[in-house]
Every structure is written in structure tokens, then in C-alpha cells.
């Protein structure tokens, strides 16, 4: 299809861009998608998709540090942030410039994302709890942060669309915790497309470790009962017979997106190269960074099912500037640099033209692109309110073997501190139980081997030692909800550009006292849990780790969750937000932003499901705008 002017130009083929492209093309709109990453990564034919993915997998096997971006190409022409680049920041005048992100601090931002076809869902974990109704009203309920411009219940139909597209496995009836009741939060009779992913043997070991006695912990003189929830997730399991939705479609008459009903059983979406591969999670235990069989959802699955007769894709095309008419303020085109090879500085410039433009390049990149173009920023909010879950980890040895390092990264979470009055004072958190032992904080089990061998162990003694400690490893996350703060932000600086002359994002980031108090509180809870579980605590925090805070004399470390949120916030008035509730920029009538950057607050859930729901809402608004 090559045309001079498309209905819509989209930047980015992550889940936000792919959901947008699929929804619009299936509604008959002509779409052009610009993607910064390599052509090979977007292959939709079986052979090409398979070969490319096997290349990723091999790269992963051979990577010394198996971090989220380890399987994927990191290109000088479209670099990705990488957790391996996190380094101490001497002072704000000399930021850390080790990686793509320029880290101005005072502490380094701890998350990465992937800039390439399919985006960050290639290495996401796939946990998909919904936000809580109270998360949408943080100002009203707790006097902190801001309210969303609509309620949880307004977003419910779009949540259902997102759960259909990602393909969620879970049990609605088991969703409990503060501010969650199945009927209130999900509606009567609602079910997920697939049955829940079995909870791990490790989860069961913990749940049963107190012999049926409920565990209670005390925090700020209040008692809390610990509960456990099987986490809904975007990976394939057994189809749920009661699920009766086929997919999302545009209803011209009602001018709404709707979930179409069907009598057919839900068919789990397999890999790109073979529909029968990946129809079930096979327990590869490597979802981050790569699911070998693609049982885990990734955005290329969505992109593949777009209407390709209505879709053109230009890869190796890095959007560098959004052009606009100074009179009407309308966007007139997106300038991109198409490079020849990922590491050559040679490129050709192009301008993509459409009636409507959608930036879906991820929170940091969207903000950077807006700043570089000098647009959408009458509120002065572009780039601000950068958020992530600050993940405090605690680890120890169980009294008996739970056999971690098996199954999806996490199958159960403790929802007890997701909501409560304490949110006036400190952050709420969710606590996934990690199925992969101490891998994250200590690089176990490799480090267990080298420690033991370093101590002189060998032979049967070594084998017995390792088979005693590795299967007893427990790791808990305390994923603390960061609030929007204007000083945590993305900026640009002409001193810092990449090889193509595009700006590199400059990140200013800190942990407020609100967050520090939550680390203190979470550690208190962790201590009580370990006591109740009879777990020997091996947690150790260090000021040598660049991501540390010292609060009341104690050092805490945190990791990033990859939940990069909030850099172009949505709101109900143009003075304090970048986009309106339809996710259209207040300043430009034909520019929409999608992705986690729109989220006014983060909640305690992993953000992608909520963001995908929002993307459907934006797609609906775009279709309406195009047709009126």
C-alpha cells in the first residue's frame, strides 16, 4: 500500500504501537508505522520470524550476564537503556554517561526498556494484575499525588479488551486483597481467557509453611493478615470454557470499540513461526529476558494480526522530530532518520505524513521526542513525574526445599499492602514471590557455586552443599509505588546526543522520603514474614550499590521494575497535564500519545495491562476523530 498521506502515523511497534496499529487497520484506516529497530526483528513470515528469534535465543545462551536486554541487539543508531550501564553518579555536574541514558541523579534510574521491533514486551515478565479503584483517587483518598481524570470503573470495558488481546491466564474468583473483590472489580461472571497458571511448588511451600495458621504482621500499630493471590499473567495456559470473547472491533454505529462475542473456545496464541508452538507455558523459566516458545505474550503477536493490507511499516527509521504548523498548531509530519546498518552513521531523512499522529515510543522516548521537537509542553509537564516501582528485595533460606528456578518468574503475590490508610505516609507495595531463587540480587546459583568453590569445596561435599542451599532459596519483592514528583524527570541537553545526532535522554531521579519510609516499613514486614516462615534472612544492602538510600541510619537498596511511567501525564486540565482523557495532547489537535507515560499515578500493579486498556481508549477516540 504506499500512500502519500496516511490516516495515522504511529511511532513504535511495542504493545502500545501494535495495539494501536491493529485496532486502526482492522477498522479500515491506513496506517504507517515507524520502527527504530532492525528490519530482521519485524519478520512476520514463519521462516524469518523463526530464524531471527533463534538468533536472539542463542545470544541469550551465550551472554555472560543474562540481563533483560541480553538477547537483543543494542544499536548505536537506536540504543537501548541497559541495567548493566547503571553506575555511581559522582555529582549532578558530572552525570554518568556510561550507557544510552545520561544519568544526572542524584541516584541512577534503575530500569531499562528495549528499542526494537515488539519493544519491551519481548523481555517483560508478563504479570498483569489490574490497578485498584483507589489507585485512581490518590489525592481524594489519601491527600497525595493526583486523581486520574476518570475512575477505575470507566476503564473497565477497556481492561477487558486488553485482557483479550494479551491473553490473560488467571482466576477472577481468586483475586482478593485490599480494595479487591471479584464482583466489584471485575463484574459478575467475568472470567479471563485462560485458566490460572499453576502456582509454583515454591508458592505452595510458603503458603503451607505455617500449617494452615494465618500469618499476621504488625505495621504502625495495626495488624494485617497476609493473603496470597495467584497472579494473572499474559502467558498461555488451558483455555477457560466460559470465556466467550473473540476480539476487539470498531462499531461504526455506536462509534465505540467493542469486544465481539463468540461461541468458539478461546484459542491460545502460539509463536510467530508455528501456531502450535507455545500454546502452553512449558516452564522454560526464562520469561525475562526471552520465552523460547513464545508462550508469553509479546507485541509482535498483536502486530501480526493487524490488517496488513492497510499497514505499511518502515523499520530502521528513528523518529527524530515532530513537525508542526505554528499557526494552527497541528502536527504536519514526523521526521525520521533511516539508517542503513545498525552501527553505521549513514542515514537518509524522511518525513512521514498522516492526518493523525501517535507516539508510542515508550515513556522516556516519547518525552524526549516531544522535548526535542519543542511541542505539547504548554503545561511544562513533559518529561516530569517519571515513576517506577522501586523494588526492595529481601532473600533468605527456607527451612525446607521449595525448589525455585522453575516456572514463570512469579506465580503468586502478597497483595496485603497494595492499599490502606498508610498511603498518606508511605508508599504501598505489592509483593510477588519470586520463583527464580536469589538470581536477581546475587546472580545465584552461579555465585553460590563460585563462593563454595572459593572456600575450597569440591566433590560430593560441594554437590551436597549446593543441593541443600539452592533449592531452599526464597526471594521476595516489595515493589513500592513511586508517586509523581516534578523533579524526577527526563530532559535533553545538546551536549548529549547519539551517533545519528538524536538527543539522548537525561534522567534526574531520586527517592523521596515517602519512598524511603516505605522501604523501612517493607523491611519490617519482611522481618516478620521471615520469622513466621522460619526463614533465615540473608538480605544484605550496600552503599556500594549505586541504587541505595540511607534512611534513619540504615542503607536500603532498590532495583528497577522496568515499569517506566508518567512522563507525559494525562489529566483533566491543560495547565497541569500533557494529554486529555482521550490521550490527545492538549496543545495539538492531531497528536496522541500512548504508553505508560500517560499514567498520572502508578498504583501497585505492573502497568502494561492498564496502559493497554488506555491505548484502546485512545484508539477509540482516534477512530471517532477520523470519522467526524
Amino acid at each position: 500500500m504506499k500512500c502519500d498521506e496516511y490516516d495515522v502515523v504511529i511511532v513504535g511497534s511495542g504493545i502500545a504501537g501494535s495495539v494501536m496499529a491493529k485496532t486502526l487497520t482492522r477498522a479500515g484506516k491506513k496506517v504507517l508505522l515507524l520502527e527504530a529497530g532492525l528490519q530482521a526483528g519485524i519478520a512476520m513470515d514463519k521462516e524469518g520470524a523463526y530464524q531471527n528469534y533463534q538468533f536472539y535465543l542463542d545470544t541469550y545462551y551465550k551472554a555472560a550476564a543474562k540481563v533483560p536486554n541480553s538477547p537483543y541487539p543494542n544499536l548505536p543508531d537506536a540504543p537501548s537503556p541497559d541495567v548493566l550501564d547503571i553506575a555511581p553518579i559522582p555529582n549532578s555536574c558530572s552525570p554518568s554517561t556510561k550507557g544510552y541514558l545520561v544519568q544526572a541523579g542524584p541516584i541512577p534510574f534503575a530500569s531499562d526498556c528495549y528499542r526494537g521491533p515488539g519493544g519491551t514486551t519481548l523481555h517483560w515478565l508478563g504479570s498483569t494484575p489490574r490497578m485498584l479503584p483507589n489507585d485512581f483517587q490518590m489525592q481524594t483518598k489519601y491527600g497525595v499525588a493526583v486523581d486520574w481524570p476518570f475512575t477505575y470503573y470507566d476503564l473497565m470495558p477497556y481492561y477487558e479488551m486488553a485482557e483479550n488481546e494479551i491473553g490473560i491466564a488467571g482466576d477472577v474468583k481468586e483475586q482478593i486483597g485490599p480494595d479487591v473483590e471479584p464482583v466489584k472489580n471485575y463484574g459478575k461472571d467475568y472470567v479471563f481467557p485462560m485458566q490460572k497458571i499453576p502456582q509454583s511448588y515454591l508458592d505452595q511451600t510458603i503458603i503451607e509453611i505455617t500449617n494452615g495458621k494465618t500469618v499476621t504482621v504488625e505495621l504502625n500499630k495495626k495488624e494485617y493478615t497476609i493473603s496470597y493471590v495467584a497472579t494473572p499473567q499474559g502467558r498461555n495456559s488451558i483455555p477457560e470454557p466460559a470465556y466467550k470473547y473473540a476480539g476487539v472491533a470498531w462499531n461504526k454505529k455506536t462509534q465505540k470499540l467493542e469486544l465481539e462475542k463468540t461461541d468458539a473456545e478461546y484459542d491460545p496464541v502460539g509463536s510467530l513461526w508455528d501456531p502450535y508452538t507455545g500454546q502452553r507455558c512449558e516452564g522454560n523459566s526464562s520469561c525475562v529476558p526471552i520465552c523460547p516458545v513464545q508462550a508469553k505474550y509479546n507485541a509482535l503477536k498483536t502486530l501480526r494480526t493487524a490488517d496488513h493490507d492497510n499497514l505499511d511499516i518502515i523499520t530502521q527509521a528513528v523518529a527524530s522530530q515532530v513537525l508542526y504548523d505554528k499557526g494552527s498548531m497541528d502536527i504536519t509530519g514526523i521526521e525520521y532518520k533511516k539508517y542503513r546498518y545498525g552501527n553505521s552513521p549513514i542515514y537518509e531523512k524522511g518525513i512521514a505524513k498522516g492526518k493523525i499522529y501517535v507516539l508510542a515510543a515508550s515513556a522516556i522516548e516519547n518525552a524526549k521526542l516531544l522535548l526535542a521537537s519543542g511541542i505539547a509542553n504548554s503545561s511544562d509537564q513533559v518529561g516530569r513525574n517519571l515513576m517506577d516501582h522501586m523494588v526492595m528485595l529481601t532473600w533468605g533460606l527456607l527451612p525446607k526445599k521449595g525448589f525455585p528456578y522453575r516456572g514463570p518468574g512469579s506465580t503468586t503475590n502478597i497483595p496485603t499492602f497494595r492499599d490502606g490508610d498508610f498511603r498518606k505516609e508511605h508508599a504501598a507495595w505489592i509483593s510477588p514471590i519470586d520463583n527464580w531463587g536469589w538470581a536477581w540480587p546475587t546472580f545465584a546459583p552461579g555465585s553460590d557455586v563460585s563462593n563454595a568453590v572459593g572456600q575450597g569445596m569440591f566433590g560430593k561435599q560441594l554437590r551436597d552443599h549446593l543441593s541443600d542451599i539452592i533449592p531452599r532459596q526464597l526471594l521476595l519483592h516489595f515493589e513500592c509505588e513511586q508517586l509523581p514528583e516534578p523533579g524526577n524527570r527526563v530532559t535533553i541537553d545538546p551536549r548529549y546526543k547519539d551517533q545519528l545526532g538524536n538527543y539522548r535522554p537525561v534522567i534526574h531521579y531520586n527517592a523521596s522520603e515517602y519512598m524511603q519510609r516505605s522501604f523501612e516499613a517493607a523491611k519490617k514486614v519482611s522481618d516478620q514474614l521471615y520469622k513466621a516462615y522460619n526463614v533465615q534472612d540473608f538480605t544484605s544492602y550496600s552503599a556500594q550499590n549505586p541504587d541505595h538510600v540511607q534512611y534513619k541510619g540504615k542503607v536500603y537498596n532498590f532495583a528497577g521494575a522496568g515499569h517506566i511511567v508518567g512522563t507525559h501525564r494525562m489529566g483533566s486540565d491543560s495547565n497541569s497535564s500533557v494529554v486529555n482523557p482521550d490521550q490527545r495532547t492538549w496543545d495539538h489537535g492531531n497528536l496522541y500519545l500512548v504508553g505508560c507515560g500517560n499514567m498520572p499515578t502508578l498504583g501497585t500493579s505492573n502497568p502494561t495491562l492498564t496502559m493497554t486498556a488506555l491505548t484502546y481508549k485512545a484508539a477509540e477516540a482516534i477512530l471517532k476523530q477520523l470519522e467526524n
Partner: protein, 138 residues
């Protein structure tokens, strides 16, 4: 290939790792690991290492306790043979030579996953729902 050294490599590997020779042969990694040790070490030092290992094996006539004692005293200390014994253990358990993954096969055959009752992440997947049960090998 020096067949004596090769045989010594296999037998001493079994004592160093705590896995039987059959287990080690079953990984298919004996040859590549033997080669990696050969290619990455000073031949003279390596020669002395094999000589010492062979002597230990011969002198103790299969008495396990005696062999272990000799290994602890004469092969394991860092002062002995540039730490080759430890390198061999780490190679078998992690598939890594130093910081590098030797090959995709070595990654998949690392013994640590076996002692963990698990499998190498991203390979040898045990199937849907397997993680909800105790490991097969237990």
C-alpha cells in the same frame, strides 16, 4: 589427543564435581571441556597438574577418602597449578570459563541446574505445570 591426560581429566573431574564418570559423559561435554582446559593453560603447568592428578588416583587405589584428602591438599589450593582444579569444577558446574559462557551447549549442560533440581533457564523445559510439583529427579 593425549589419551592418558584425557582419561585423567574425566576421572579427576568426577572426584572434583561429585558426579559419576557416566553422568559426566552423559553431558557430552567431556571433550570440549578437556579442550578448553588444554587451550587456556600453560602446557607445562597443565602437564604437572595431570601428572599430580594421575599420581593421586594411582596411589590411593580407589579409596575415596584418601583421594579426597589428597585432592584437598595437592590440587585445590590456589598455589597449586594456577588453580586449574577450581577452573575445572566451575566449568562443569556453570559452563563458564572465567566470565565467558563457553558455548550454548555448555550453558545447557551446567551441572548446577541438576543439583538445584531445576533446568537451565530457556532450555530443557520440563513442560506445562511441572513447576507446581516437586522436581522429577527428587
Amino acid at each position: 589427543m593425549n589419551t592418558n591426560n584425557h582419561a585423567t581429566f574425566l576421572t579427576i573431574s568426577a572426584y572434583l564435581t561429585g558426579f559419576s564418570e557416566t553422568d559426566l559423559l552423559g553431558t557430552g561435554m567431556v571433550d570440549p571441556y578437556y579442550a578448553a582446559i588444554r587451550d587456556n593453560n600453560d602446557p607445562e603447568v597443565l602437564g604437572y597438574f595431570y601428572q599430580e592428578a594421575a599420581t593421586i588416583l594411582a596411589d590411593s587405589h580407589g579409596d575415596e577418602a584418601e583421594i579426597n584428602e589428597a585432592i584437598a591438599a595437592r590440587l585445590i589450593p590456589d598455589s597449586c597449578y594456577n588453580g586449574i582444579a577450581k577452573t575445572i569444577i566451575l566449568l562443569w558446574y556453570t559452563g563458564n570459563y572465567g566470565n565467558d559462557v563457553l558455548s550454548t551447549d555448555s550453558y545447557k549442560e551446567a551441572l548446577v541446574w541438576n543439583v538445584a533440581g531445576a533446568h537451565p533457564p530457556g532450555a530443557k523445559q520440563p513442560g506445562y505445570g511441572s513447576w507446581a510439583l516437586p522436581p522429577f529427579s527428587v
